[in-house]
């Protein structure tokens, strides 16, 4: 299957480490576009801060819209477990809005990234360039 990679890219896997500061000024759709454009180029996108639940929902929705046979079959996404949601009270959410809780998120093309291990402090991923 042809892979979603940039033919002009050097041999290797590009990793985009996106700071929370870079994401801070973006709208939800701009964040999703930033992620998916990188993934379409075959890059691994690592977000210093995760997405809000609403943004995660939209990321899945937009990803589905862009899946195409023989070209792009979706994403792998791994995030450290969110801090205990039982402690996320309604008041806390109202006060804090839907801000992502500083959790690192790794996103990559489904055909290139395989999660080997994940726990609360470590995400171990195998990335292949096919």
């Amino acid at each position: 299957m042809p892979k979603a990679t940039n033919p002009d890219a050097p041999d290797g896997v590009q990793i985009d480490l996106v700071s929370g500061q870079r994401m801070e000024g973006l709208t939800s759709m701009e964040k999703i576009r930033l992620i998916l454009d990188g993934v379409h180029d075959g890059n691994i996108v690592i977000l210093e801060e995760g997405l809000s639940p609403d943004e995660e929902s939209k990321l899945i929705e937009v990803t589905m819209a862009e899946i195409s046979p023989d070209e792009f079959n979706g994403i792998e996404i791994e995030t450290y477990p969110r801090s205990d949601t039982r402690d996320s009270s309604l008041l806390g959410r109202l006060v804090g809005g839907e801000k992502p809780q500083a959790k690192l998120t790794v996103i990559g093309p489904a055909n290139q990234i395989e999660t080997l291990h994940k726990d609360e402090t470590l995400i171990s991923a195998l990335v292949s360039r096919n």
Partner: protein, 212 residues
Amino acid sequence: MGLLKGLKDSISRATDRLFSEQEPKRIGIYGPPNAGKTTLANRIARDWTGDAIGTESHIPHETRRARRKENVEIERNGKTVTIDIVDTPGVTTKVDYEEFTDEMNKDDAVRRSREATEGVAEAMHWLREDVDGVIYVLDSAKDPITQVNTMLIGIIESRDLPVLIFANKIDLDESSVKRIEDAFPQHKTVALSAKEGENMDEVYDNIAEYFG
């Protein structure tokens, strides 16, 4: 917040949200592919209306468009609750048509994957806009701690939707309901076998309590 208080608050939220309204509540049946969502939806629909909702299959993404069964009246303990059941496609972040080529030719596999992606996108959109409560179905024979499950439960919680977790397929030897309870202790988990009809009384009691 303690576990018991969390559960109590969750039930209280569900009651507060729904109690005052008389119209049917749209209850979305969500979960990963092949968890038994359509089997459960059919079981509920058949038990209370006599009709099924959709086709069941072992092939992932058999349900590719959300399907709704309206005005399902469930009577429990002398009280009748009316819900619309929305059976949704299994949520995933990837769909590869090659997964289906063992079962069908390439054109059909491509068509199936396209329909599946549209269905998942629609289900995600509805989750943000159009459901009043969620039944989250998991295969109790599989590890529930996956990124999709964690994300989906987080999305549901962020919308403050009442949610019941159904640990399905307890008829399988490898089933472990405790594994699901341990993964999502903040929510009520109900064990069942939608295929065999096991424990459906408790299923309906809980649907009535949470969504009635």
